[in-house]
């Protein structure tokens, strides 16, 4: 199932098809989002039918009219969902097990799923793509048309350059004014980074920040081929070699880095989900969207 799904991501160019597939596998339950009560606004009365919840019956009206009426609420969330995609060059890291799959494609697909969920829930959603030293915004809005727009933007994102610098990102933070849920997908290899500073700052502004750290199975297992020379995609010079003698050091360095990232996320009360891109996107999505503490 897992490999079938990841292969599907790798070989499907149409994002909405993949998202539909993933969301079908996700089932129900996620839709009962934590934002449900927040935007409840009175819309109309409706005659009571057996089965309605008693607490939704308007008792004052019942006293006046001697009939039961149920308050219908137009569930219109004021929560905006912001999708943050790290499209720096390092996100082009391919899976060494599944051909054609890379971190960016995986992040693109998961963010597309979140956008689709937000659209179904009636939330506004916007997109921020960070890459090539620039910030690309797609305004938050609602509706299926906007979903297509966001998916197109996601599809267009290419891995290039590095993250924008802290100043640029800080100047762009005004996007989240109303309470928002921020879903950031990145490889978290740069940490602290302008992105980490921005996310921390957003968290301090009382936004709900969810961070997804994408890895590959080869990174987790430290199982790279020793035959190749490697280079850092975000640095021009420098050549690296991988071998059995370097495996332990690599693992230690990597764990130290992600340990620091996890500690800082915990300290700032930002739920962090670390996932390998070879894993089933349904599982990963479920872990990412799960309310922390549940």
């Amino acid at each position: 199932m897992s490999l079938a799904n990841t292969a599907l991501i790798a070989h499907t160019r149409k994002l909405d098809l993949v998202i539909r597939h993933v969301l079908a596998g996700l089932g129900h339950g996620i839709h009962a989002g934590r934002e449900r009560g927040a935007g409840v606004e009175f819309s109309e009365y409706r005659a009571y039918v057996p089965g309605d919840e008693w607490r939704r019956v308007d008792w004052k009206l019942a006293a006046r009219a001697d009939r039961y009426f149920v308050r219908e609420a137009e569930r219109d969330s004021h929560v905006a969902v912001w999708l943050v995609l790290d499209a720096s060059a390092s996100m082009a890291e391919p899976s060494r097990n599944v051909d054609g799959l890379d971190k960016l494609a995986y992040a693109r697909m998961l963010l597309g799923c979140v956008a689709a969920i937000a659209q179904r829930q009636g939330d506004a959603f916007g997109l921020v793509v960070l890459g090539g030293g620039k910030v690309a915004f797609t305004e938050a809005s609602r509706g299926p048309r906007h979903l297509q727009r966001v998916l197109a933007q996601l599809q267009r994102a290419e891995p290039a350059g590095s993250l924008p610098d802290a100043e640029t990102l800080k100047a762009s933070l005004h996007f989240a004014q109303s309470p928002s849920a921020i879903y950031a997908a990145s490889d978290l290899l740069d940490w602290p980074s302008p992105l980490s500073i921005a996310l921390t700052r957003l968290r301090q502004m009382r936004h709900d920040v969810r961070v997804l750290g994408l890895q590959t199975q080869a990174e987790v297992d430290a199982s790279f081929s020793g035959d190749l020379a490697y280079r850092d995609p975000e640095q021009e010079e420098g050549v690296f070699r991988f071998g059995a003698d370097l495996k332990e050091g690599y693992r230690r360095n990597r764990e130290a880095h992600f340990g620091a990232v996890t500690a800082q996320c915990r300290k700032n009360d930002m739920p962090l989900t670390l996932a390998a891109i070879e894993q089933s996107p349904i599982e990963v999505l479920r872990r990412w969207l799960r309310r922390p503490g549940r």
């Binding site: 020379a229 280079r231 850092d232 050549v239 360095n253």
Partner: protein, 327 residues
């Protein structure tokens, strides 16, 4: 000396050097988490990559053609050859060629006097295994010829051609002069002209008065120097005074006409040697062995025309290709 131009061949290294790309770094795969690895020395492979091999080839050929044109090479293309002098008896030539086993060899016909010189000039054009036979009435050269390859010479003296020498005698003592000329032997026949003409090579002026100014000849024998003012400053050699004038060269001797047979013979011999030229003497048949110290003369540029055409064609191609590549 031209062959020294071949030393310029290392110039070919220049385009080769220009067209060689620098050694390339091993192809490195991107790895996002490379920052967790220690940096290593880049492994580089020393392989030669060529940019524009066609252009490189053209440029090398161009340089080679240029150097070859300057060096003026000789291509040894001649096989077994029989050099026959003009006027040689064909039957004798055939017999000698057959005897030497060169009946089917290439024949080159040359004037007898030039045969050996021509062979010497062109001796590098023969292949190493080619045999060379010179047949005919080859005159004896002044110095012994030296060849870089073996040359066999077989000679047959031809009957000397009758040559007439026209002499005009203006003298009261013409009988004495005629007697002296009649004593001249050899293949030349001396003709006493009644009137001087264009064919007259010698005028004997044994008169007191000066000759008419229109009278000209290669040589004048003068008995009365007062008629020729040029003889006043003449140089003297054993009593014979000689000078150049507008009429021709003047000889004067006080004791002319020669009274003694020895004096007459000496005068005739001098005339023969200095103005008529030595009589050809047929060389003895002999084989010249290849002399290692023989220097073949500089080649006469036999291949230069072809090389120049190749050079021009290569230049045009090279320019066109360079232009097309820039586009």
């Amino acid at each position: 000396m031209n062959a020294l131009w071949w030393l310029a061949l290392p110039v070919l290294l220049l385009p080769i050097w220009w067209h060689r790309k620098k050694r390339v770094q091993n192809q490195a795969a991107p790895m996002a988490t490379a920052r967790f690895l220690p940096r290593t020395e880049p492994r580089q492979t020393r392989i030669w990559l060529w940019s524009d091999p066609l252009l490189l080839l053209l440029r090398c050929l161009l340089l080679i053609a240029l150097i070859a044109w300057l060096a003026d090479p000789v291509y040894p293309w001649r096989g077994d050859t029989v050099v026959v002098t003009q006027g040689a008896d064909p039957a004798w030539v055939e017999g000698q060629a057959k005897e030497a086993g060169l009946a089917n060899a290439e024949r080159v016909t040359l004037p007898a006097a030039q045969a050996l010189g021509w062979v010497h000039t062109h001796e590098r054009e023969w292949r190493a295994d080619a045999r060379l036979l010179v047949l005919g009435d080859v005159p004896m050269p002044a110095a012994k010829p030296v060849f870089g390859r073996q040359v066999e010479v077989r000679t047959q003296a031809a009957a000397p051609a009758k040559v007439e020498r026209h002499v005009y005698i203006a003298s009261e003592r013409a009988g004495e002069w005629r007697r002296m000329f009649a004593a001249q032997g050899g293949p030349e026949k001396i003709v006493i002209d009644d009137t001087p003409g264009a064919a007259t090579t010698l005028i004997v002026w044994d008169r007191a008065e000066a000759p008419p100014t229109s009278l000209r000849a290669g040589l004048w024998w003068v008995t009365n120097p007062s008629a020729f003012p040029e003889l006043a400053k003449a140089r003297n050699l054993d009593g014979l005074r000689y000078a150049d004038s507008a009429r021709g060269r003047l000889w004067h001797h006080a004791d002319w006409p020669p009274q003694h047979p020895d004096a007459a013979r000496a005068l005739l011999d001098s005339w023969q040697q200095l103005h008529v030229g030595p009589r050809p003497f047929t060389m003895a048949p002999q084989v010249f062995a290849a002399s290692p110290g023989a220097n073949a003369p500089a080649p006469g540029g036999a291949l230069r025309g072809v090389l120049l055409a190749i050079l021009a064609a290569l230049f045009v191609l090279e320019r066109s290709l360079t232009h097309a590549r820039r586009r």
